[in-house]
């Protein structure tokens, strides 16, 4: 906080004045959506995809991750904290929004509304998911979760439906978030760039949706849907 420019002095701003806080918080919200949350989402899909190779492979992956160093710190500080921050601030942002639907049905406006709807759905889904798996393992069962635990849960039709809705919401939220993140930070500026990125982000959304449902199916059916087709 030395060398404050004349400009800063005249606008009364220092690096962390209350006026600047909304900028920092908003950018932190945007950043946490990608790192760590988006990054974890991809990792989570990757690790859970081992369920496609059967119960043993999945249980082995779970054990391997459970023995990772600094796991506690990583989970609580690098995952739960950012999740809580992004969620709480996301709900605050959503509450402050006044969607304009009737006369503006072009896809960016719809995507904007869906970003908020999927965020809220994701909030409830993730809360349920984390409590019923990770917290359950840590505080109730006292052991790691297994393939069988997940298979039992997902064999209940409404739980399976909830997971599908939840996974699709999170996937859309993350994919469209990649698009808006790039604009928020100014990584992409031009009209063509924004349009192309929208196509890329929706392609990512489609791929992750298929992968997500495929992984869920691996728990419920003997074989995941895609592997039945040799993929």
């Amino acid at each position: 906080m030395t060398a404050t420019s004349a400009a800063e002095a005249s606008s009364g701003g220092c690096a962390l004045s209350s006026a600047d806080k909304s900028f920092l918080l908003r950018r932190l919200h945007s950043l946490t959506g990608i790192v760590p949350l988006g990054g974890f989402l991809l990792f989570h899909f990757f690790e859970n995809a081992s369920a496609r190779r059967g119960p043993e492979a999945f249980n082995e992956t779970v054990e391997k991750i459970a023995s990772m160093p600094y796991l506690m710190v990583a989970e609580w500080a690098l995952l739960l904290l950012p999740l809580i921050f992004h969620s709480v601030y996301g709900i605050y942002i959503t509450r402050a929004s006044r969607p304009v639907v009737a006369q503006y049905t072009h896809c960016r406006n719809i995507a904007y509304i869906l970003q908020r709807v999927s965020g809220i759905v994701a909030f409830f889904y993730i809360a349920y998911h984390v409590v019923s798996t990770r917290f359950w393992a840590l505080f109730v069962a006292g052991r790691e979760i297994t393939f069988q635990d997940m298979a039992t849960k997902l064999s209940v039709p409404w739980v399976f439906a909830l997971y599908i809705v939840g996974v699709l919401s999170v996937v859309y939220h993350f994919s469209n978030g990649l698009w808006s993140f790039s604009i928020t930070w100014g990584l992409v500026r031009s009209d063509v760039g924004q349009k192309r990125l929208a196509c890329v982000s929706m392609a990512i959304c489609a791929v992750l949706s298929v992968v997500g449902i495929d992984i869920l199916s691996a728990f419920v059916f003997k074989q995941s849907i895609l592997s039945a087709f040799g993929i």
Partner: protein, 271 residues
């Protein structure tokens, strides 16, 4: 059937004798959301104006002023609205026509579904009827120093040479008429928050990309990195769809977003 089609199929509007058999001549029906003063409750009033080809909403309102009688025959106060240029360059006549924010002077009656509904933009305080107070935009322009500072105590000499391609790009941004339509349609802009919106952010980009205006770019960025600044944009991009001047507001927002990113990083590391 839309009114536009009706207009095409019935060019005999002027011959009153033809239509006098059962009903009077064609009328233009218009519903207006009225408000007598900034604190009064709004109410709707419906009017009929004899059809004339080529009316736009402002000329319709002018016509109504001659004889402000509503459809029940009750005398009404003349409708108050703002206007200036009558050719879509001053931005004063912005209102919500059939649910869409736009300029009254370019809203052609023949292309509008009837009854035509006219409402004031609800993201700005209503002064009276369709006239709203747009001063928030002007305050924001002051806040971001949306001008080029050329005054000095001595001759500052000629400005730097400019790349014509950049001048063309800036020209589009400079056509903003502070009409407020981009803010009216923005889901992040509300009457009770302090988001600056696309209009101001576009001006930041305009003046920050001007070779002389650029000298104040840090000040402008600091102004839009404060409360209600560029970070409040949620990328719904209604602004760029609605802007009557076709300003690429989504590009302006991304540009200023990038400048803000760089500025925040530089401030953070103390540059």
């Amino acid at each position: 059937m839309s009114h536009a089609e009706e207009g095409k199929s019935a060019p005999s509007h002027s011959s009153h004798s033809e239509t006098s058999a059962g009903h009077s001549g064609r009328k233009i029906r218009v519903r207006v959301k009225r408000q007598d003063n900034p604190n009064a409750l709004p109410y709707w009033q419906e009017f009929e104006v004899p059809y004339q080809p080529g009316h736009n909403v402002l000329s319709l309102l002018m016509e109504l002023r001659k004889n402000p009688v509503d459809i029940s025959g009750k005398r009404a106060c003349p409708i108050v609205y703002d206007s200036g240029c009558l050719e879509s360059v001053c931005g004063a006549c912005s209102m919500v026509v059939n649910g869409k924010a736009r300029q009254g002077c370019t809203a052609l009656v023949d292309q509008l579904e009837q009854p035509i509904t006219l409402e004031p933009m609800n993201k700005f305080p209503v002064v009276r009827d369709l006239a709203v107070d747009r001063s928030r935009m002007f305050e924001n322009l002051k806040r971001v120093k949306a001008w080029v500072e050329i005054d000095g105590s001595h001759d500052l000499g000629p400005g730097p040479r400019q790349n014509p391609a950049e001048v063309r790009e800036r020209y589009v941004m400079s056509t903003c008429m502070t009409c407020g339509v981009c803010l009216q349609v923005c889901p992040q802009f509300a009457i009770d928050n302090n988001f600056v919106g696309a209009q101001t952010i576009n001006q930041v980009r305009l003046f920050n990309s001007h070779p002389t205006g650029e000298y104040q770019s840090d000040e402008r960025l600091d102004a839009v990195m404060g409360n209600g600044g560029v970070e409040d944009c949620g990328n719904a991009q209604n602004c760029v769809k609605a802007c009557p001047k076709s300003i690429p507001l989504h590009e302006s927002i991304a540009s200023v977003g990038r400048q803000a990113t760089v500025r925040a990083f530089k401030k953070f590391v103390g540059l």
